[in-house]
């Protein structure tokens, strides 16, 4: 499926089949989750990153079913197409944003998602303790979501942020790399 076709599909599904909630509600709810985690782990931001990723993973495992049910897509023929579908359909229908797919490696197994806007990060200031700026990946939930969702469609990926405007970087960029395609599980033998 071409990029334009994917974009049209994302637009169409977002307009017709998605229940919407106020964006600020999402932003504030997510903000309070992260704030609470920071409190619970007493400023251990690496652990907070890990927890956000785990929460995202569990969301992703289920969100993929919702995605498939709403879009009824064809199976992607290669990882490039998968990337386009994630950016133009997945992010579009669930967050109403379309990150840019960029920086492919030559073996077509790694790409970046560059977020021009990120509803999770609106109104956010990272704690001014000298560490959060270097350690906390505020939107790390999204990495987990991608990891979980793609695992369900037989792709093991690694996803992590490499820059975030909240940290003072110029862009918000997530790096996604394909580890392997997962083989179908075989049924256990009787004995």
């Amino acid at each position: 499926m071409s990029a334009t076709k994917a974009a049209r599909m994302g637009e169409e599904v977002w307009k017709t089949r998605i229940d919407k909630v106020n964006a600020e509600l999402v932003t504030l709810t997510y903000g309070s989750i992260v704030a609470q985690l920071c409190k619970d782990y007493e400023g251990d931001y690496l652990e907070v990153n890990k927890q956000l990723d785990k929460m995202g993973y569990n969301i992703g495992l289920r969100l993929i079913e919702d995605y498939l049910a709403k879009t009824a897509p064809q199976r992607c023929v290669n990882f490039r197409e998968t990337a386009e579908m994630i950016a133009r359909v997945g992010f579009k229908i669930f967050l109403n944003i379309t990150p840019t797919v960029a920086n492919w490696t030559s073996d077509n197994k790694q790409f970046s998602l560059v977020f021009e806007e990120n509803p999770l990060g609106d109104f956010v200031e990272l704690p001014d303790d000298g560490r959060a700026q270097n350690e906390l990946w505020y939107s790390n939930l999204l990495c987990g979501v991608l990891r979980g969702a793609l695992e369900m469609v037989q792709m093991q990926v690694d996803a992590h942020f490499v820059s975030d405007t909240l940290r003072g970087n110029e862009t918000t960029e997530m790096r996604v790399s394909l580890v392997r395609y997962i083989d179908d599980e075989l049924p256990q033998s009787e004995d």
Binding site: K54, E65, L68, P187, Q188
Partner: protein
Amino acid sequence: MTIYSFYIFDRHCECIYIKQWHERERAGAAIRPTTSASTTSPIPDKRVSAGGKQITETDISMRNGRLSVQDDAKLIFGVVFSLRNMVRKLSTPDDNFISYRTNNYKLHYYETPTNLKFVMITDVKTNNLRVVLHQIYVNLYVEYVIARNLYVLMLNNYIAVEHSGGEGVACELFELGLESFVVRTLKLIELTT
């Protein structure tokens, strides 16, 4: 048309949902025992209500010497799994079979990209039910099982994942939804043919 049974298998090859409406009439007359009354408990443990019709005396006697519901499910999984893999080898990897029929029944198949397998077994006269199975996935499974478990997950602090042993699939909303959906579909199909 008549629907005999319905199964869902997850990506771990586990049967996570079984429902039987009518006892399958696949055993031919020759195999059917002549004595009508039986002493053994005819329908062992299964998560099943005898949907529309009561199970009749003859159905029960047919049950003798037959496999348990769980063994049935295993066999069905085996058939579907092998058939699907063979079909893919013969054609392209994204190809899949839609249904097959025998002299006595027809098996309809729908698989999601997440390797969930939906199987429905009906009489031979039934037209293709792929669309129906897709609708069960979209409108019932995703709506009631996936969404509901998301809620349970939050309560459990994101520990529980997926439905081991089919736990959480046979929830009330899903059961009721499935029942009424099937009844509606049957009526619709009868009206249009």
